[in-house]
Symmetry: C2
Subunit: 408 residues, 2 copies
């Protein structure tokens, strides 16, 4: 009973949206003061479930939910957004739990071998599974919405198009990509901008898919997918792009990542890094690290930028797409639930519940929590032939004036 | 004679633009391999001048030039851009010189008193002097050019206009400004966006000028100029802006600067920081620190961003205006030389030569050297009513869609 009292105490000063907790003994209690249409109920079926949440935080909740010891009626996203509330800083892992996590983080380090294992565990879950809830171009990264109601398919096309424009891709140029995903961006850029892309990825299933796709599009001579680590990249290129890979690189390797861009990019050239960033440096949430992205770490800008400065890259533009990612995840969740019967034929209920926590938690971490999405455009060397502003990113009809400096 | 041999050796591998050195003994030598129309001649009138350059770097050159021991025929900017070449890393201050600089930096620290003295020495040189070479709105910061040939007056108007747009200023809002300059931005924002601005500045002459200007514009009830340090700011505001002040804050005070924004800004609100940044953390060049901006320090983004992250600010947008600043300085130099007769009535020849080195060096540090200009747009708290993209910064006719998140 004292655990329930603890919850009462924690939420006695809670002024947010109302929600109800139903306890294992049949009692229930409403917390919060704000009436909204986003009321939800958390059912704690065992005392142990509550214990897990209180003493182990997100992973305690996640596991209890996966095991069916916690049920949520209403939107799971509203429930998992509660930790964004300052009150939940109370529900943090104990010291003993932290030791366990430290061991896990160590085990999952991104050595060449470790990365291979980490990436395999998430991205090789089966292409048919990802097809069920991603857009038709299989973009597993933040989309770019032109208006809030735009479709996910169109918004993912925008993301690829804007990325090409930011990079000022020109026919015949060579592009190094690290992290291919299922090949969507490389194929889009080759098809629409006439560039040649060499793209590295260590997810076997993704590379297989990407190669097939390039073959179907007759782009085999212009898009090369290589199943290898970005650290083994070879060649010198006109442009560099990495969309949604830095999240898997790990803080120890940002220097290496920056070195790789520097060594494989021509002087006075552009590179684009598209990555989730966090408002401040912080280790990965244990639930995510254990069940979703082993070895994953969301960088803070303060962790990435020093690595770029070491190679004297000029930061040309940082574009924050935080709410675009929340919206993207909204669509992924919707698609996932719409296809839940098909997912059930692939995975068990525990996996499905795990995936729900993941997608819901990710969505609210962008809308209410500490996650942002940064598109970082950089230049190697003193690039003096640059755009005067960024209007042409969005408006192709705009006459895009460039400096050609030292002509005055 | 050995000093001349040293120069020969240093430049023997130099492949850049051709230039000539005329030595004190009448001998001359051409260095570089590239024929351009930007040939220049450096005359070293004494052996001591060369010694100063070799052993004391920029300050050695600066002082020798100020004293007339060095003359440059052709463009002084081309001459002072030479240190951007890797070869010049040889010409670095000796250890003994470095000790001297360390003492100077210590003396010029930005305590409340120190800042007052530092700012006074530059910005209180006389409003009539600055009028001779700044634009008609007295903007002593980077302009924003819509096309390379645009006039400085128009480009400075753009800078103010874009800054207002980025901040999404709305009629009746209150704005805290730290670093008023001569009041141009505060007056522009009040006049064109109907906001109320409270603006802090410790340059006595600038504040006097700004107050007069506000009176002439009948804006005294909407623009308040206060002669006080930004650390003494009072009140809570809808928006925050600081244009070209962070360069005087000093690395020890970035935390304080971030705290000041946080404490005086409403939750879920925008702030804009416009500052010169450097490609990497680096102390101020001794010539600049001694003669131009005592106490000044150009931050690297890696030094500013951690301070912003500590207060959980979201970095919404970083816009690099590097070449805009080079172009701005090009105009300042032109205006300065066009009005040189009037300047001569105010200052002696040594000052004029010092100012030439300053403006030329600053210009090339943006076009060829390590300086950039960053407009950093941040939000306090989780601001979920934001623009979907940045097109409206440039295009007022564009229907500017905003999220109003959590409506889905």
């Amino acid at each position: 009973m004292e655990l329930k009292n603890f919850v009462d105490k924690v939420f006695s000063k809670y002024r947010g949206r109302k929600f109800e907790i139903q306890y294992w003994d049949g009692t229930k209690h409403t917390y919060g003061t704000e009436d909204t249409d986003r009321f939800f109920t958390i059912t704690l079926k065992t005392k142990n479930a509550l214990k897990n949440i209180i003493f182990r935080g997100s992973i305690g909740f996640g596991e209890a939910y996966m095991d069916g010891d916690v049920e949520v009626e209403g939107d799971l996203a509203d429930c998992v957004s509660l930790p964004a509330e300052p009150y939940f800083s109370l529900f943090r892992p104990t010291f003993r739990e932290k030791i366990k996590y430290a061991r896990m983080f160590l085990k999952n380090r991104n050595t060449l071998k470790g990365s291979k294992r980490n990436i395999h565990s998430h991205y090789d879950l089966g292409n048919d599974f990802y097809k069920l809830w991603l857009d038709k171009n299989m973009q597993y990264t933040c989309a770019y919405f032109e208006y809030p109601e735009q479709s996910l398919d169109d918004a993912q096309l925008n993301k690829m198009e804007y990325s090409c424009r930011k990079l000022e891709l020109k026919e015949g140029e060579t592009v190094l990509e690290t992290g291919s995903g299922w090949g969507g961006f490389a194929i889009y850029a080759a098809k629409n901008y006439g560039v040649k892309v060499k793209s590295y990825n260590i997810s076997h299933e993704q590379v297989e898919y990407a190669k097939e796709w390039a073959k179907r599009e007759n782009l085999e001579n212009r898009v090369e997918f290589i199943e290898d680590d970005y650290r083994n990249a070879e060649g010198v290129f006109d442009k560099f792009v990495s969309i949604g890979m830095l999240e898997h690189v790990g803080v120890d390797n940002y220097g290496t990542f920056s070195d790789i861009i520097f060594s494989h990019l021509k002087d006075k050239s552009l590179a684009l890094i598209h990555t989730i960033t966090k408002l401040f440096p912080d280790p990965t949430d244990p639930f995510t690290a254990k069940y979703i992205f082993p070895g994953g770490l969301i960088p803070a800008l303060s962790e990435v930028i020093p690595a770029l400065e070491k190679k004297l890259f000029t930061i040309i533009d940082i574009d924050n797409l935080r709410l675009h990612y929340a919206r993207t995840l909204h669509f992924w969740r919707e698609n996932f639930e719409r296809n839940i019967d098909k997912v059930r034929k692939m995975f068990d209920e525990r996996f499905i519940r795990m995936w729900r926590v993941y997608l819901s938690g990710a969505m609210t971490s962008f809308s209410d929590g500490p996650m942002t999405l940064s598109q970082i455009l950089i230049a190697k060397g003193r690039l003096n032939n640059v755009r005067l502003n960024r209007r042409a990113f969005y408006d192709t009809k705009y006459k895009d004036p460039h400096w050609n400096y030292w002509t005055y």
